[in-house]
Homo-oligomer: 336 residues x 2
């Protein structure tokens, strides 16, 4: 075999750079720099090392390294209210001129009058009505544009930042760390699947087909020879509580080996994931940091964590204490 | 910088091998060797070159290179009957001793007596009854084992081979060719999603989460503290005809740029895919080869191709003439 000398040298240098880059990413740098050293970080790293050690007793082939993440309160902020509820409220206000009847009709009346107490009292049924009125009647592509436009303008009332900048930095690192170790990462959220898909790739590195969520019905229509999907005002699937294992099975088609949640809505997902054979990992993000984010568990309307918190010790689920386990909550400010 | 000489040489050789392997895979070898040179092959290659040419006007980013494939009759044999129907019939026979009432109850009676005429006359409703009786009442993992055990034993009546060896070699090459060019390949089938998932990775290189199909309802249950999913005797979703674009949207979350089918059940998927903006590709496998496989289109119970065949010219869909476009139908025999 013959190589021109310059070519060989260049290739050797390129190979060296590649190897050097790999070793610094996997060996030397801390892949979870925003996590304080402690039980939670050790549990994560111990699990990943165990399932990726090819000769080890707990080795899991990459095809089966499925990790599922709740979204609201696990990957991004869910207080003072779910982002999608804020979106629905803003949409009701924007659409109100076309719907004069809303002035006298609950729960729309409550939204338009800023009467959050009455809105809260309308419960799941009331919120479902808001969703139907604001999320249906257009194509998925049109809805995507509405979501993107809203996210580009809306700011969180306390942090004064776009919601998509309020993902948790330690969780972003965790997502990358798992993917660098051959995991396929999925979102499994009670939130609307098409409310999340426009931005999950950009924010979390999770493509649309790896997002599982609640959905309204969609119908195929042939509009003047123009085949289109139309979003209908009827629930299709509620991906919450016992719906999460069902949604995972339907969408992913295998039982995950790791599940990450923060509320009782994630209980069955955690149970079903960690009850499988072989190495399993369950984690709960416990919101304990009123100063840097929020502190809540058993007594809240959004992201109630009660039964799952009680079960965590006996089930062997790792509970993240946000205040003590996380060095920082949100991604660093981009340079001005 | 200092390298030990032996190390440098070894790295250079490895890099050379890697580059050589890449160039032979992408540049020199024909990626579609089982396709005769002709309009169909040229259309496929032309489309792939167009969407992958970074500076070109039709460039599509890898994230959006979504290709969807029907299964029965597009990726594997569907005659003389859908494989899943043969499976359901075999299961009825296997379960008959536990169901003495089936001897007098249609469509089970017809199955047990081998009376295919009466079974066919029972139509979709009859077949749905067979599916409910044979596909429900167990966990997804238990069903997977039943499917795998059956596939390991069952042989196609004409070709005397396991069904999983009756995938079309030209389509296997096409799947690999698309993936090598950055496409994500999905199955979108009228068949049962959990009937396909146990073997699609092995046969097609398509993992479980990239399979979309029809499904029965699944329920989360807590059996004596053991969280489980249970397959229920009720339809959940029919992924056929107008259901295909709905299933794609629900599961994949974006409109594909390429769709491959073979029957009128793929019509709406082809329409919706190719009506999108930018470069699009639609292809129909036309079964024209009675000698090596089967010849059928407008007049068949399984895989009827009528309206989609008429629409193909005006819609610009490529029609594959199996007899003339494919050098071989099935993968070569493995060495004995």
């Amino acid at each position: 075999m013959w190589f021109p000398v310059g070519f060989t040298t260049r290739i050797a240098a390129m190979a060296f750079i590649a190897i050097f880059a790999a070793s610094s990413a996997f060996g030397q740098q801390d892949p979870l720099p925003s996590w304080n050293d402690g039980a939670a970080k050790q549990a994560i790293e111990g699990f990943v090392e165990k399932v990726t050690e090819e000769e080890g007793p707990d080795y899991v082939a990459p095809d089966n390294r499925i990790a599922v993440f709740d979204n609201d309160g696990t990957l991004w902020v869910e207080h003072p209210a779910y982002t999608q509820l804020v979106f629905a409220i803003d949409r009701v206000k924007a659409l109100a001129p076309e719907h004069p009847e809303w002035k006298d009709k609950q729960p729309f009346k409550a939204v338009l009058e800023g009467d959050m107490k009455t809105l809260a009292a309308s419960g799941q049924k009331g919120i479902a009505e808001l969703v139907m009125a604001t999320h249906a009647g257009m194509t998925p592509a049109e809805f995507e544009t509405i979501v993107e436009d809203w996210l580009a303008e809306a700011k969180h009332p306390r942090f004064k930042k776009p919601y998509t900048e309020l993902a948790y930095q330690p969780m972003l690192e965790l997502l990358s760390y798992l993917r660098d170790n051959g995991f396929k990462t999925f979102i499994v959220s009670g939130g609307g699947i098409e409310f999340m898909r426009p931005w999950t790739d950009r924010v979390y590195g999770i493509p649309p087909d790896q997002v599982v969520g609640s959905s309204i019905k969609t119908e195929f229509q042939d509009k003047d020879g123009d085949p289109e999907l139309m979003r209908m005002p009827a629930m299709n699937f509620i991906d919450d509580g016992p719906g999460k294992p069902v949604g995972i099975n339907q969408h992913i088609g295998q039982r995950p080996i790791a599940a990450f949640g923060n509320s009782d809505g994630d209980l069955q997902m955690l149970e079903w994931t960690t009850a499988g054979d072989g190495p399993r990992f369950g984690m709960i993000v416990h919101h304990t940091d009123a100063k840097r984010e929020y502190a809540y568990d058993r007594d809240t309307k959004f992201g109630r964590l009660d039964k799952a918190l009680d079960m965590a010790p006996e089930e062997g689920w790792t509970v993240v204490d946000m205040k003590n386990d996380w060095k920082q909550i949100f991604p660093p400010e981009p340079a001005p």
